[in-house]
């Protein structure tokens, strides 16, 4: 056997995906299955005066119409949100609180009849004035939530750091910047929308739930807690999932209504949302208005950071953050820089918009934080008239300071920011690009270079800090080696296209000296997989990957005994090296894991339990801190506002890389999403509370035509506390790239005096900024 880790092995799951043989939620068709379609509120804020089901129920094929009143009678109208601070309506009850909110469900023999039934449900509304942004919400002139005791739209205040010390340091700083920076409301928009098939078998009393779930075990527990159905009577299966990005973590009304319908009627009920339903009702991301202040010395040493955020959470506080962290891991906002002191606070408000605030390809508010600090460092560089690369270099957390305790409470595991930036600047040819830019500026041409040297935080737990519904954020692995040396590997996570079936097999293959091709990886079935918290927040390799390595090491411990027995030596004389068991001092005397596996079933040592399997529940001692240096080079057309991304280089440090090809693919995908956020995507509500991006003609997703060519490279500083030194990579490109694009465009517009524009930098926005700047001169 040879190494498995570090090999660009082709993805084991791809043959079935490429050939259309994946099995996604909508592929599941069960006998006697009914279909659910939902009635949505056209009003962002309205009292529901009456709901008349009669015409819908009279339509042949319609089996049931379910309203909030029906659910309330069954005590299923209100669900707890994941972090437990709020509750959310399943169906609008009393009031509709956002446009497109689910008001009723129609269950019918076909999807088409269900949709026709939706048109026949007559809802009488009394429209109310809507609250469309958090600043209006703050005034408390219109109180949105009748159900809460607290008669304010304010949800919570959260803060971290030293407020007084930071204020004093800012006051005494020679140089200060302050900017309001918006991380706009965007949507993960996975290619496959959300869906469920709920199948209550009244004969067995067992509920089987097929669901687009990033966290099937947690969902099973949540369903059990809410419905009272014992957990052993609920079987969750998350089939192949076509992208999640945090969108498939929350529990949505369609899931609940389909389940209720199946429990009542006793046949399977399917609900698959439309693209419009996905964009208008399921978890959005971000909507953080961040007031950032940085103090610095005249020579560019940062002295203090203060960030005050006003957060728009929509109608319910449904952000899937860990219980103790309502603003997630926003404390990572000091980024890669050694701030002597810092203070961050978040105030969250209800508005008449869809709920969410989910972690779109980031560990709970990390993208927002990273954007705020990286954008602000560029603004500071401009104020100091200093090269932004040089400003970053002067303030990096030095390599010898790790493990580094940040002023906002994190302990960074490892990194070499200086080396990563140097590699990026050398590779992109930074100095010659700056020369070219200087020449172009003389001719009035707008060229920009943008840098992002981000540090993110991934891999939640540890369990002592992080939990969801009280369940500690560990993850798990179970490995069972068959007599012939192949095996099955199960984990508590659930991939949505990330390539776990390959990556996990490589980790186990490396630890056990087995061929990853002969290790079947299975996830997503709660009857077979060990309990885990799921795949989001870049936690699969950092947490479940660690559990896999540890479970494999448990197998190796037992295998060592069997190897000693087979070679008729003492266990103390056996050592594991070169992917096999060798006898110390006797070259050539060895047995492979395959030999051991066979013996485990056919010839175990006396008084040894037969078989070869192990389980491990891994509670990480700390999080991991992937980082990187990204550089974007753009040319801005002065006449049209068009931004051409000429080059983009991502140098990532995600620790030890298990499969470089998969890592590169992850980075390409995340950069494309970052590009989309920077230039195209924002969920927009008008002043009347209308949601204006209800489909892919209005909410844009980049195609191959718009997507720039990505250049990638890496540095490796292994995580010292992770069994294989891996840090996780799924989110880095999404967390790290938007600010590189925006910094590049702002750099291009610098000669015009434009300091900051909020994403997305559409042609219109850039064109207007250029025209306004020109009008001033």
């Amino acid at each position: 056997m040879t190494a498995s880790i570090g090999v660009a092995m082709k993805r084991k799951e791809d043959p079935r995906f490429i050939r259309g043989r994946g099995r996604y939620l909508d592929d599941i068709v069960l006998p006697n299955m009914l279909y659910l379609a939902l009635v949505h509120s056209p009003y962002p804020h309205a009292r529901i005066k009456s709901i008349d089901k009669s015409k819908a129920l009279a339509l042949p094929g319609v089996k049931a119409v379910i309203t909030g009143e029906d659910l309330d009678a069954a005590k299923l109208e209100w669900l707890p949100t994941f972090h437990g601070y709020d509750k959310q309506m399943v169906l609008a009850f009393g009031k509709a609180l956002y446009q497109y909110q689910e008001v009723a469900g129609v269950v019918a023999t076909s999807r088409e009849i269900a949709e026709d039934g939706v048109e026949l449900v007559e809802v009488e509304y009394e429209p109310l004035d809507p609250v469309v942004n958090p600043f209006q919400s703050k005034e408390d002139k219109i109180i949105l939530r009748d159900d809460r005791e607290s008669k304010t739209n304010h949800i919570y205040h959260w803060e971290v750091g030293d407020k007084e010390k930071t204020a004093a340091a800012l006051d005494s700083s020679a140089v200060r910047i302050k900017e309001r920076i918006l991380s706009p409301r965007c949507h993960p928009a996975p290619l496959e929308p959300c869906g469920i098939v709920a199948d209550m078998n009244k004969a067995t009393g067992r509920l089987t739930v097929y669901m687009t779930s990033q966290a099937p075990h947690v969902h099973r527990t949540a369903f059990s807690l809410v419905t009272g159905i014992p957990e052993d009577k609920i079987h969750f299966i998350s089939p192949d999932v076509g992208g999640g990005f945090g969108n498939k973590v929350p529990v949505y009304p369609g899931y609940v209504v389909a389940t209720v319908a199946s429990v009542i009627i006793g046949v399977p009920v399917k609900w698959v949302e439309t693209r419009t339903e996905n964009l208008t009702t399921t978890g959005f991301a971000r909507d953080y208005h961040m007031d950032v202040e940085i103090g610095a010395t005249n020579d560019g040493r940062v002295t203090a950071l203060k960030v005050s955020t006003t957060a728009d959470h929509g109608a319910f506080d449904a952000a899937a953050d860990p219980r103790k962290y309502p603003a997630g891991l926003f404390g990572i906002v000091t980024g890669s820089y050694d701030f002597p002191t810092a203070f961050a606070e978040v105030d969250a408000y209800f508005t008449n918009k869809a709920p969410g605030g989910i972690a779109y390809r980031c560990s709970f508010r990390v993208t927002e934080a990273s954007y705020a600090i990286e954008r602000s460092m560029d603004i500071l560089a401009r104020k100091l008239d200093m090269d932004p690369a040089e400003l970053r270099r002067r303030n990096f957390v030095a390599k010898d300071k790790f493990p580094y305790s940040s002023p906002l409470g994190f302990v960074y595991d490892s990194g070499d920011y200086e080396a990563t930036l140097r590699k990026a600047l050398d590779k992109i040819g930074y100095d010659s690009l700056r020369k070219e830019q200087a020449e172009k500026r003389k001719r009035g041409e707008l060229m920009g270079i943008g840098i992002s040297t981000f540090t993110e935080v991934v891999g939640a737990g540890p369990g002592k800090h992080f939990d969801i519904l009280g369940i500690k954020m560990f993850d798990s692995a179970e490995i069972r080696i068959h007599p012939t040396g192949s095996g099955i590997v199960r984990a508590g996570t659930r991939h949505q296209g990330q390539g776990h079936e390959t990556t996990y097999a490589q980790i186990v293959g490396e630890e056990l000296g087995l061929d990853p091709q002969e290790l079947l990886v299975e996830e997503g079935d709660t009857d077979t997989a060990p309990y885990g918290l799921g795949t989001y927040a870049s936690r699969s390799t950092p947490v479940a990957g660690a559990a896999l390595a540890m479970a494999a090491r448990r197998i190796r411990e037992k295998a060592k005994k069997i190897a000693a027995h087979l070679m008729e030596v003492s266990e103390a004389d056996v050592e594991w090296s070169d992917y096999k068991f060798n006898v110390k001092g006797i070259p050539g005397k060895s047995v492979t894991m395959k030999d051991v596996a066979f013996a485990a079933y056919t010839n175990p040592p006396p008084a040894t339990e037969p078989g070869l399997e192990a389980t491990y529940y891994y509670d990480p001692p700390n999080m991991t801190f992937p980082n990187g240096a990204y550089v974007a080079v753009v040319d801005v057309d002065r006449d049209t506002g068009h931004v051409q991304v000429r080059r983009f280089l991502a140098v990532d440090d995600c620790g030890v890389v298990v499969n470089p090809m998969i890592v590169e693919g992850q980075i390409h995908g995340g950069l494309t999403e970052g590009f989309a956020m920077a230039f195209m995507q924002q969920i927009v509500y008008d002043d009347a509370g209308n949601h204006l991006n209800t489909n892919f003609t209005d909410y844009l997703v980049p195609t191959a035509l718009e997507t720039p060519h990505w250049e990638t490279d890496r540095t490796v500083t292994p995580s010292p506390h992770h069994p294989i030194g891996a840090k996780g990579v799924g989110e880095s490109p999404n967390v790290g790239s938007p600010q590189a694009f925006v910094n590049a465009v702002m750099d291009a517009l610098a000669p015009l005096g434009v300091t900051h524009l909020d994403m997305p930098l559409t042609r219109e926005k850039v064109w207007r900024a250029i025209r306004e700047a020109e009008a001033k001169t």
Binding site: H40, P42, Y43, P44, Q99, Y100, E119, T276, D686, A688, N690, H691, L692, N693, T694, N695, T697, D698
Partner: protein, 148 residues
């Protein structure tokens, strides 16, 4: 999405004729374009099912129309509310009548509409163009009906 329109039309008929005409829900209903069916629900109200095509939003919308004549002020107010396919349209319009010679009447009108749901997402320009088409056709039909 909120939209407003203003305009002035010259109807080639005496003010009293125009006034009688626009007080009759059946006559008004007969002048609306793209109507699939109408039902007179009272002396000053009717329901209409209208074929709507707004970009991706295509299908039947149901509207309730009510007239509020103010004879003393020579003014007619009109409310339209309804929608379909998850969209809601509310329109409040008013017209002031003034004689323009013996056989002509000037109609000064104003309308405010609020559009919600998928129909609001197709954008102001598409909605505005459609609204102008509906308004234009309606007045053409009124003129035609009165000039016979």
């Amino acid at each position: 999405m909120n939209l407003s329109w203003d305009g002035e039309e010259n109807i080639p008929a005496a003010k009293a004729t125009v006034w009688t005409f626009i007080n009759d829900p059946a006559k008004i209903a007969g002048c609306l374009p793209d109507v699939e069916s109408t039902a007179i629900t009272g002396s000053s109200s009717f329901d209409a099912v209208v074929r709507v095509s707004l970009g991706p939003v295509r299908g039947k919308f149901k509207f309730k129309v009510s007239l509020a004549p103010q004879a003393d002020r020579n003014r007619m107010d009109l409310k339209v509310s309804g929608g379909g396919l998850g969209s809601v349209v509310d329109l409040a319009a008013g017209a002031d009548l003034a004689p323009a010679g013996e056989n002509a009447t000037t109609l000064k009108w104003h309308g405010d509409a609020s559009i919600r749901g998928p129909a609001a997402t197709v954008g102001g320009r598409v909605l505005d163009a459609q609204a102008h088409r509906v308004i234009g056709t309606t007045f053409e039909n009124v003129k035609k009906a009165l000039s016979v």
